[in-house]
C-alpha cells in the first residue's frame, strides 16, 4: 500500500470539506427544482379560466357515458405476469359514425364476453351506446381474441366511416352499411378483405401510401403472431429478449387497399415485404404523416424495448428505414403524438416513455422535425415534466386554450393495485439481466396484487408559446388517478373548444369537457377528399394568421400545421376535423390544404369561429 501522505494546509482541507458538504446539499436542492417549478398550483375552475384560459370538467356520466374497461385474462401459464402482460386494451377512437355531423366515440374492451361500446352523440350532447344494434359490440370472443384498439376510415369512399379493430386475435374490418332507414349497421368484411390473420397488435394507422385515393392500412404486431395468448401450448418464452434492443416482437403489416372485389366487398393485399416496411420491434404506436414534405405519407413507429423507427415513403414504391437520429436512442416508446410545437409549419413528434424515481429515467421525447433542413428529428425534451411524467402512455397535441399554441395531454400509470406493495424492485431484477432470462415469463417474479407505477395522474401540459410547457392538470381540473392508456381530442359539441376523451385500463371512460375563454378565436376545417381518400386521412392544413397573445396586445403573424389523424397517440384516433386555436383578434390570411393525393389547395382568408367544410378541388 502507498505510504500515507501527510495532510497539508489545514485551512485548505477545511475549505474543501465545506465545499464537499455544499456539493451534497446542492445536489439535494437541485433535485427538488426549487427555482423552476413546472407544475401550476390547483385552484378553482374560474381561476383556471382566468389564468390559463380554459378549465376541464369530467362529464362522462352526465352525458350518458357509462363504460368500464375489462382487462384480458390469459393462459394460466402467464398468471405470474398477467397483470403486467395484459395491461393494455383500453382504447378510444372518435369519428362521426352515423353521419349526423356530431363526433361519436368507440371504446374497446379486452376480456371475453365484455362488449365494446359505440357512443353516438345525440342532439342534446348526451351519448347513447348503439354498439350492439350496430354489430360492433361483441368482438371479444374466445377463439377470436380481444380488442386492443380501433381506427376509423371511409375504406370504400362511399361517404361513411368504416371501423377497423385491431386485436390480440383476428383483426376485424367492419364496413359501415348505408341502411335506408337510417339505422346504423356494420358488416364484418375481414375475411373477404383478406385481413383475417392472427396478430397480437397494439397499434394501427391508416395511410394512403400510394396516393391512389384508397386508404391503406398499417398494423403493428406487438407479441409475435405465433402466440395465442390464451393457449400458449406450454410456451413461456414470449417476452422481449432485450429491454433496449428487442426485435423479437410481432411482424408489422402494410395492407394495400385494392378497392372492391367482384362481390362489391373490399379487398386488401399484404405488401409489407415489397414495400420494405416490416419491423419486428415491439411496436406500440404508429402515426402517418408527410413528415419530410415530399408529398408522400411516411410512417413513424414507437417501439417498446427499442428505438423509434421512421419509415420514409419513397414515392409509394417502397419505404426506407431512415437514419434520422432515432436508432441510438433506445427507450420504451408507447405513443406517437403529432403536433407543430413551435408553430414552424412542421410535424413534430412526442413519444412517451417510462420514468420512475431511483430506478429508471427513460424520459419522454419531444422530437422537433428538422427534415426540411436536411437533418433528422431533434429531441428537445431536456428536463422537467415534459420529460418525466411517470409511466407514460397515450398522448395528444391540441390547442386546449385557443391561444394559438398546441398543448399536450399525457396519460400515465401502469398498474394501480395495492398501494403499499410495489413491483419495481422485482422488475429491476430481471431487467438488469441477460435477455434470454427475461424472455421467459417463468423468470419473472409473480406480480400478484402489487402496483407498478400505479396511481399516477394525467398531465395537461400547457405550451408557453412553444418555449416550454407548464403542467396545469391539477389547476384546470384533470385530477383522476386511473391507469390512463388512450386519449383522443375532439370538439364534441362544436363550441370551438377541444374536449378530452380518456380510456383507462380497468377503469372508466372519461369525458373532460373543455370550457375556454370566449374571447379567444378559433377555426376548424372538416376535410373531404375526392382524388384523395374521402376521409382525408393524412391531409394537412397549414394556417397563416395574425393574432395577439392577449386582448389589446399587438398582433403578430403566426403559422401552424395540423394533420388529419388516421390513428395516433396510443390506441387512439382524434376527431377528423382539424381545430386551430387562434388567440385574440385573429385574422386568417390563408389556409393551405395538402391532400394525400399530392394536391395543394389554398383557402384565402377563411373566417374565424367557424368550422369550414372543405372538399378537395383536384381534378
Amino acid at each position: 500500500m502507498a505510504p500515507p501522505l501527510p495532510p497539508r494546509h489545514p485551512v485548505a482541507r477545511s475549505v474543501v470539506a465545506v465545499l464537499f458538504v455544499g456539493l451534497l446539499g446542492g445536489s439535494w436542492w437541485l433535485d427538488r427544482h426549487p427555482f423552476a417549478s413546472q407544475v401550476a398550483r390547483s385552484g378553482t375552475a374560474a381561476e383556471a379560466l382566468a389564468t390559463f384560459g380554459f378549465a376541464l370538467t369530467e362529464v362522462a356520466r352526465a352525458r350518458g357515458v357509462d363504460f368500464t374497461h375489462h382487462q384480458a385474462h390469459l393462459d394460466p401459464l402467464l398468471a405470474n405476469v398477467e397483470p403486467h402482460v395484459a395491461a393494455m386494451g383500453a382504447a378510444i377512437s372518435i369519428a362521426d359514425a352515423d353521419g349526423d355531423g356530431r363526433p361519436d366515440l368507440y371504446a374497446t374492451n379486452s376480456d371475453f364476453g365484455h362488449p365494446n361500446a359505440l357512443w353516438l352523440q345525440q342532439p342534446d350532447g348526451r351519448f347513447r351506446d348503439a354498439a350492439a344494434q350496430a354489430g360492433v359490440a361483441d368482438l371479444n370472443q374466445e377463439g377470436e381474441g380481444v380488442s386492443m384498439g380501433s381506427i376509423w376510415a371511409d375504406i370504400d369512399n362511399d361517404g361513411d366511416e368504416d371501423l377497423f379493430v385491431h386485436k390480440w386475435g383476428y383483426p376485424q374490418l367492419l364496413r359501415n352499411e348505408r341502411v335506408p332507414s337510417g339505422e346504423l349497421r356494420f358488416t364484418d368484411v375481414s375475411s373477404p378483405a383478406g385481413l383475417r390473420r392472427w396478430m397480437n397488435s397494439n397499434g394501427a394507422s391508416w395511410i394512403d401510401y400510394d396516393r391512389d385515393g384508397l386508404i391503406d392500412l398499417y398494423v403493428a404486431g406487438y407479441f409475435p403472431e405465433r402466440f395465442d395468448l390464451w393457449d400458449l401450448k406450454g410456451e413461456t418464452r414470449i417476452m422481449h429478449d432485450s429491454f433496449e434492443f428487442a426485435d423479437n416482437g410481432g411482424h408489422n403489416v402494410l395492407w394495400r387497399n385494392l378497392g372492391a372485389g367482384p362481390d362489391g366487398l373490399p379487398r386488401f393485399e399484404d405488401v409489407t415485404a415489397r414495400l420494405q416496411c416490416d419491423s419486428t420491434r415491439w411496436t406500440l404506436a404508429v402515426a402517418a404523416a408527410d413528415f419530410d414534405g415530399d408529398g408522400w405519407l411516411d410512417l413513424y413507429l414507437a417501439n417498446d424495448y427499442g428505438p423509434e423507427e421512421f419509415f420514409r415513403n419513397v414515392e409509394g414504391r417502397r419505404f426506407e428505414l431512415a437514419g434520422v437520429g432515432l436508432s441510438e436512442d433506445s427507450k420504451s416508446g408507447m405513443s406517437v403524438a403529432l403536433g407543430d410545437t413551435r408553430n414552424a409549419g412542421t410535424v413534430d413528434v412526442y413519444v412517451t416513455n417510462i420514468s420512475k424515481n431511483l430506478y429508471l429515467f427513460q424520459g419522454n421525447n419531444l422530437r422537433v422535425n428538422r427534415l426540411a433542413e436536411g437533418q433528422g428529428f431533434e429531441n428537445v425534451a431536456r428536463e422537467g415534466v415534459l420529460v418525466d411524467c411517470g409511466w407514460a402512455w397515450g398522448s395528444q397535441f391540441g390547442d386546449l386554450n385557443n391561444d394559438g399554441w398546441q398543448d399536450l395531454v399525457v396519460l400515465n400509470g401502469f398498474i394501480s393495485a395495492d398501494r403499499e406493495q410495489d413491483y419495481w424492485y422485482d422488475m429491476s431484477l430481471v431487467a438488469g439481466g441477460a435477455g434470454n432470462l427475461f424472455e421467459d415469463t417463468r423468470n419473472w417474479a409473480p406480480i400478484g396484487d402489487r402496483s407498478l407505477s400505479g396511481y399516477e395522474r394525467s398531465r395537461v401540459l400547457l405550451s408557453l408559446q412553444g418555449r416550454r410547457f407548464l403542467d396545469v392538470a391539477g389547476a384546470v381540473g384533470c385530477l383522476d388517478l386511473f391507469d390512463g392508456r388512450a386519449v383522443a381530442l375532439a370538439d364534441l359539441r362544436g363550441r370551438g373548444a377541444l374536449d378530452l376523451v380518456v380510456a383507462n385500463q380497468k377503469g372508466p371512460l372519461l369525458v373532460y369537457e373543455n370550457q375556454v375563454d370566449p374571447a379567444r378565436d378559433w377555426v376548424s376545417f372538416a376535410l373531404e377528399g375526392t382524388a384523395s381518400n374521402r376521409s382525408a386521412l393524412g391531409a394537412s392544413v397549414t394556417l397563416e394568421w395574425t393574432a395577439a397573445d392577449a386582448a389589446g396586445a399587438k398582433p403578430a403573424d403566426r403559422t401552424q400545421t395540423r394533420v388529419v389523424d388516421g390513428g395516433s397517440g396510443f390506441c387512439s384516433q382524434n376527431e377528423r376535423a382539424l381545430h386551430f386555436g387562434l388567440g385574440f383578434g385573429a385574422r386568417i390570411t390563408r389556409a393551405v390544404v395538402r391532400w394525400p393525393s399530392g394536391h395543394a389547395q389554398v383557402l384565402v382568408a377563411p373566417g374565424v369561429r367557424t368550422r369550414h367544410a372543405v372538399r378537395e378541388d383536384a381534378p
Binding site: 500500500m1 502507498a2 500515507p4 501522505l5 501527510p6 495532510p7 497539508r8 494546509h9 485548505a12 482541507r13 474543501v16 465545499l19 464537499f20 456539493l23 451534497l24 446542492g26 445536489s27 439535494w28 437541485l30 433535485d31 427538488r32 429478449d241 432485450s242 433496449e244 441510438e328 433506445s330 420514468s355 424515481n357 431511483l358 430506478y359 429508471l360 429515467f361 424520459g363 425534451a381 431536456r382 428536463e383 422537467g384 420529460v387 418525466d388 403499499e420 406493495q421 419495481w424 424492485y425 422485482d426 429491476s428 431484477l429 430481471v430 431487467a431 438488469g432 439481466g433 441477460a434 435477455g435 434470454n436 432470462l437 427475461f438 417463468r442 423468470n443 419473472w444 417474479a445 409473480p446
Partner: protein, 301 residues
Amino acid sequence: MTGASPGATPVTAGATAPRRGLRLPNLPAKYYSVTLITLILVVGQFVGGIVGGFDIVATCLGLSLGLELLMGRLLRGAWPSLLSAYISGNSVAILTKPSGELLWPYAAGALISIASKYVLTYRNRHLWNPTNFSFSVLLLLAPGSMSLLSHQWGNGAATWVVMAVGLLVVWRAKVLPITLAYVAAFAALAWPRSLLTGREWLTELAPLTGPMYMLLIFFMLTDPRTVVRSTRGRVTVVVLIALLEALIRLLPQTDMRVLDPLLSAPAIFALAVVGPIAMVLDLKKEAAEKRARTSTVPVPA
C-alpha cells in the same frame, strides 16, 4: 473506479507474469483497468449509445481530472496520477442515468467522487470507493434526478467480450479471487433468497449478467485503494458485501418501507456500508502491527 491516491504503489503485473501460455505486455495492472473502462465506454456507446453524448464524457472526465489535479496539488503538494480520476470519470459517465438530459448529476457525481477521496479519509486513506460513494449519496439525495444504469446492453457478443477482458484484467491485477468470491457468494445466496421470496433462482441470479454488475465486480469491489490487505480479508469482505446485499434484497419481505430506496441498487449500498468498515478495521490492525513491530525492534546500544 479505482481510487488510487497519488503516490500509491502500483500493482505491477509484469513482475509475476506467467512465462508460459498467455503473454501480455509488461504493464502495471492499472493500465489494464484503464483499457477496460475505455473499452466498456466505447463498446457501450457503439452498441447501445449508453453514454449519451460527448458533452457527458467531457463533463465527467473534465471535472474528475481537473478536481484531482487541484486537490492533489492543494492538499498534498504534489501532482497526482490521473489514472484513478480517469476511471472514476468514465464510470460516472457510464453508470449515471439522470432524468431527461440533466447534466448536473454527472457533474455532481464526478465532483463528489473525487472530493470524497480527499475529505472522507482515515489515517490519510480514503475509505470509500469514490464512485461507490457518489452513487450512494446521489441516489439518496437526488432520487428524482438520478438513477443508475440498470438495463442490459443487448444480446450480442459485446457483453461477453467485456466480461472476458474484465476477467483478464482482474487476473493481471491479482484481484481475481475478489471477483470470483463475490460472484460465488452472490450465486450461493441467491438460492436461499429464491426459497424465501418464491422467485426462481435464475431470477435472483439475473442481475449478475447485467452491465452494472460488470462494473461492480471488475472495478468497485477490486479497487486496490479501498480493499483490505490480505487475500483472505478481501474474500471475507466481499462475502460480507454479498451477504448484506442479500439482506437488502429481502427488504420487500419486511415492513421496513423506509429502506426501500436501497432496493434501487442493493450492491452499491452494501459496498458503501461494508467497505469503509472493513477499511477502518484493516487500517487499525495495520497500525497496531506497526506499533508492535516498532516495540520489538532492538534499540542499538
